[in-house]
Symmetry: C2
Subunit: 334 residues, 2 copies
DNA sequence: TAAAGTATTGTTAGCGGTCACATTACCACA
DNA sequence: TGTGGTAATGTGACCGCTAACAATACTTTA
């Protein structure tokens, strides 16, 4: 026989008033007479009353929660996006409801339904491609939806992100400028962002009459994967003199593998990563990388959302954030 | 004038039945007559009906959501714990509600109240020390609560974790066995786990008549912090010949800094980390580290929780998971 | 063909707050 | 002492769904 948690009614009975009076006290003690204030507070503490949002959610369809839908939580990038989001939402009293879908559209559809079933007040999503059903849910939900990560998305939504393909093109060009020619792209996950980056990489290679080559996998990027890719690529592309990775971890893993093989970076092989995590700034040699404003992206998305929730509706807009090409030491052959 | 999302009533009217019939169809189509099935399904799709959990949460006080309360989300360790938790909860139809409190007890109290206000069916927390009010809420909540991370916690709760102090003691002893003497501990955050680890480190040092020395900060651990600590420690403890870090990132940051300084690892300085992240297995030299079962911890906690939710109550128990001392190459002086 | 199922659909109430609207208590002032 | 006004509290109703029960409709069987 487990005890149920106390309701306003329980507290009210203990004090000898109606629950309405207790409700008033909780929201604005001034509305309640002096002698009652103490009694109610005491009863509240005594019973350990904990507010219940369910009735409010039911009657107002407002949950004070924002749904955040990301492909993965273990990816450091998304962890930082989340931090940015929460930095803004928490002080405003909004709870973040996190869900992830492991890069699967069908799972994404389910997660959207789940989040909506909790009456989230807004949604932050991170892909532009959805199942038709998911698409419809997003349209019918009647709440603000923001898509983050890539600014070139064609969704009819508010979008906040960076131009991944431009960033990749620019970094590839930078590597070429530093004398690298046979640059292989290390890809993982093959999600929308990675495909954008690959496109940018290919453009830069083509523009310089160089041959693009891609090492890819559907699985997650990691340090060990970077090392494995390097082992393989050496036999597959013996002429390789540059590697551009979809993520810093791949790059660093590859770099370690080079050290083991006795290959010099950047002299024998130039290596560049993507995102500019903290480690890139501490390592030897400093990693060339595209520094992305992950946390800021989260912050801006959350701020935009709050504006929308508070009624400042506006047309779907695209905010493109700046990235930064950091040359480090790992591609400075010339 | 924003459109409200459709309710069961809306669907029912469209079909010409009562919402009860639609409700039945959704939960078990067999209960509805053949000709209606199609019509209802059609209306459902047509209006884009999305189930609403609020009424259920209100009437049954069951949300099918589990609250997870962690100090930080950006810490890789917790990201993996979350993955473990979700691996188990998602297939069971439970939504994870994440909250974090930045290592502050007061914030933790607030987060607990918030999560409970959403009627979570269970709670996973990660600290043993709480404010009195938080403590009371946890007791009164009437839902299963599991504390994870450290098995030596004295909470009167279900506990799943590792013995951090024993692990630190063992790793310190291992370093000593490999010929390191003046080992300094690099600490960050100063949370409960770190304090436990420091205790274990001190025990091992004392047992070998060696002097313990600690570099500490309240801020988060990072690669750059590890590098900074190394710089500082060289002048503060010129005799230093070993570093044991509360986290792999500190260790790796310190290691890079050693490389810059021309210090050999492990010959001049042995370095050990904690947790055994993927990078430790890819790097050169391989990092000595305590491998912790982070994901398993999350999985087990979630499984335990599900059992409790389904009524298999039991006395508070402690599950101590095994860690592993991995020597790698970074402490093998002897 | 009537009685007795069984299958299908409908009706009511309630979950726990809060809104909008009474109602009562209390006070000042003419 | 009565009147008007404000402060303090109370009274349904409602949010959307479903459990429990009620009422039909349709079959089957004697």
């Amino acid at each position: 026989m487990k005890k149920k948690r106390p309701t306003l009614q329980d507290v009210a009975e203990r004090v000898g008033v109606t629950k309405m009076t207790v409700s008033r006290f909780i929201r604005n003690p001034d509305q309640v007479s002096d002698p009652l204030r103490d009694k109610i507070q005491h009863a509240l503490d005594d019973l350990g009353y904990i507010p219940n949002r369910a009735p409010d959610i039911l009657s107002k369809s407002k949950s004070h929660a924002v749904g955040v839908l990301l492909p993965s939580l273990t990816n450091q990038v998304f962890a930082e996006v989340i931090r940015g989001i929460e930095t803004v939402l928490e002080p405003e009293g909004y709870q973040t409801m996190l869900a992830h879908f492991g890069y699967s559209q069908d799972l994404e559809e389910q997660r959207i339904a789940t989040l909506l079933s909790y009456n989230v007040d807004a949604l932050i999503i991170s892909e532009s491609q959805h199942t038709p059903k998911a698409q419809k849910m997003l349209e019918n939900a009647g709440i603000p939806v923001i898509e983050i990560m890539d600014s070139t998305s064609t969704s009819p939504l508010h979008i906040i992100g960076i131009n991944n393909s431009a960033a990749a093109r620019e970094m590839t060009q930078t590597m070429i400028d530093h004398g690298h020619r046979n640059i292989v792209y290390f890809a993982a996950r093959m999600d929308e962002r990675t495909l954008q980056k690959i496109a940018g990489y290919k453009q830069a290679m083509a523009a310089n009459n160089l041959t693009a080559a891609i090492k890819e996998t559907r699985s997650a990027s990691s340090f060990t994967l970077g090392a494995k890719f390097l082992e393989e690529v050496l036999s597959e592309y013996p002429d390789i003199d540059g590697i551009f990775c979809t993520n810093d971890d791949l790059a660093i893993g590859a770099l370690y593998a080079c050290q083991k093989k006795g290959l010099r970076v950047p002299e024998d092989i130039g290596i560049a990563g993507f995102h500019g995590h903290d480690i890139a700034r501490a390592m030897v040699p400093l990693l060339a990388t595209v520094v992305t404003p992950r946390e800021e992206m989260g912050r801006l998305a959350a701020q935009q959302l709050l504006k929308n929730i508070h009624g400042e509706a506006r047309h779907a807009s695209v905010i493109e954030l700046a990235y930064e090409i950091e040359c480090g030491e790992s591609i400075k052959k010339i």
